[in-house]
Amino acid sequence: MITGVRTKSYTVALAGQPNTGKSTVFNRLTGAKQHVGNWPGKTVEKKMGFYDYDGNKYNIVDLPGTYSLTANSMEERITRDYLIKENPDVIIVMADAAQLERTLYLLAEIRTLAVPVVLALNMMDIAEGQGKKIDVEILEMSAGVPVVPIAAAIGRGFERLLALVAKTVKTGRSPEKNIYGNSDFIREYQKLKTLISGKIPSPYTEEWIAVKLIENDNEAVGIVKENVSLSDFEKVRSCMERIPDGILLAADSRYNWIQEVLSMALDNSETDKRERKHSGFDRAATHPVWGKLIAVGIMVISFAAAMIIAIPLMSALQAVLPFISLSLREFFSDAPVWIGSLFADGLLPGIFVALCMLSYIFGVYIVFGVLEDVGYLARLAYIFDRSMSRLGLHGKSFMPLLMSFGCNIAGVTGTRVIDSWRQRMVTLVLVSIIPCLALWAVVSFMGMIFFGPGMPLVIISLLLVMVLYLVLTSVLLRKTVLKGESTGLIMELPPYHKPNWKTILSYVWVQIKGFLKRAVTLITVITIFIWALSYQPDGNIENSILASIGRFFDPLSGLMGLDWKLFIALVAAIVAKEASLSVLAVLYGIGQGCMSITSLLIPGSGGFEEASLIGSLAHSISPASALAFIFAFFFSIPCIGTIATINSETRSLGWTAGCSLYYTLISFIAGVLAYRAGLIIF
């Protein structure tokens, strides 16, 4: 049956300051009908989705959370460009009803654009609980925008939101643009507005441009310069020069507007008596001593939780693998041997390693997603701000460094929270110096064989060298390629709230998808490459190209006291850190003959007994060489998954190659020095 109703399609932009519940609203509105990409040429996520209402289709674009629309950060620039240039049919601006005075700030900026706006007052339940009384009708009148109260976390108010969006799309009216401010501001504002009157091309508005001129905004100045006469532009310039602290006055004018709007609509009289307290837990969580103890406790639990999530996934993989491997060989039994080996020893282990990493980062992301969502990560950044400042960074760098102990890949993507590009890059380089869990497994195995009771000493010296390395690298970067003034911590401590699983899972899914896209192919390609280098039909690895390469580098590895076998084990760590052990097993003649060392990436496939490997290693490697190996391994280049992530996060081959070279060089130096030290000690 033909209904005869033509459906229309509208675009809805979703904007709001961080922590106003934007993702919750986005997930509620779109359900599963969403997809995630990147903003063109940026590493910032672009989430899009749609919903149907009244027979029409509404496409939603989730804009990055920003506190304002200056062009300071990538997020701000994206949000601003989108709102002005992409011309959505309506913008839903989110505000937190419990923190109205500040969260309305973004609305105060957006309302001067030429786009219809709906204000969604989120967390009404919390505001009510705090005794705040908000009169929505008065707020609508005084703010000049349609307002809908909602409580996204408990799913309240969505029907009204949808209805109001549909209504606003039809009227297509943008907000009134009355401007408040102190007398200096208003005087210059009026002058500027007169000067540019009638000359500003759409989609810009005169109000937006005039205020942005006062803020000395480059884009606004450029537009005015193009569109007014030279003499008028001179006048514009002199207006701007009369108010050098324009940014401050413009911000002040926005808060003036907010206060004007709230003076009638918000009844705060009850809340003054029960002012939001610095609650008992939060006081402890931000205490320099207790806070750190709590943090350590939460970290231990977090990593345990991440492992509890990851290990069953990996065991399940390991369980099915021999079967798949066998079937592959059978399937290719009629083809030349190397083809079967390519699939069973090259491709399969590559995919296995990628999936293992996936389980790791899945665990790490879930745990950090929860900590972020409940509001705890901001506290973590706060208490470690002072320690981080010794590295020339601020508190926000702490989280990516911490995630890195779980998995370097998670740490590298975690640097996105840092708003200044320079500090983000310093953090990104430091993150991959942190030893991940897989690396510790190899280090402790080797350490126990050679140093037994002396192991704690080895670990302490590794950690001390690591701290030194972190500090020196940071200094080096900030003195050379990343020179410039560093800004310190400016961070909202959002109120704690219950975890919202939908938001967390959508965050985890986005991260996982990103990893799958960039790393899996690369890991597979590199694995196949190494497979080719070490492929030997007779199973004797000593005859492989890889072995010749290892022998070729003998003069260099000799400086670290490593023979070609240890050297190859070091190289194998590029695919995955844990691979080194199985490689050692085969090279030291414990494992069964294998066609290619990549087949050893699958645990157990080498078929070695730990005890005999221990015996053989202890017998044939000197303590000094073992120490050199541990140091070179500890500081070796991160795995290929991390390198791929560095590349996709920096979007620069230069940085990727530069970092890789730097890590390799340091690893070599660490190995040489450790060997020399070892020769003296043992």
Binding site: Y67, S68, R102, L248, H278, G395, I490, P494
Partner: protein, 76 residues
């Protein structure tokens, strides 16, 4: 009048002046810091970052940033 770092835990005051580059000013104002704003020190331990409460919001600031903000202490 004094810089924000000298406000003790529990004390209130009013922001008088903000100094710093364009980047700093635009970030700090978007967080709610403008002249005349009421501000309460939630945690100041004499070193390391501080926590203040203003415009319904808790904000953590590095010690370096507090030196760029002058306040007038006293009940508001």
């Amino acid at each position: 009048m004094c810089t924000l770092d000298l406000l003790k835990t529990g004390e209130t005051g009013r922001i008088i002046r903000l100094k710093g580059g364009k980047h700093f000013i635009s970030r700090i104002t978007a967080m709610g810091f403008t002249p005349e704003t009421k501000i309460k020190m939630i945690s100041n331990r004499g070193r390391g970052p501080i926590i203040v409460f203003l415009r319904d919001t808790m904000v953590a600031l590095g010690r370096g940033e507090t030196l760029k903000i002058s306040v007038k202490a006293g009940a508001v």
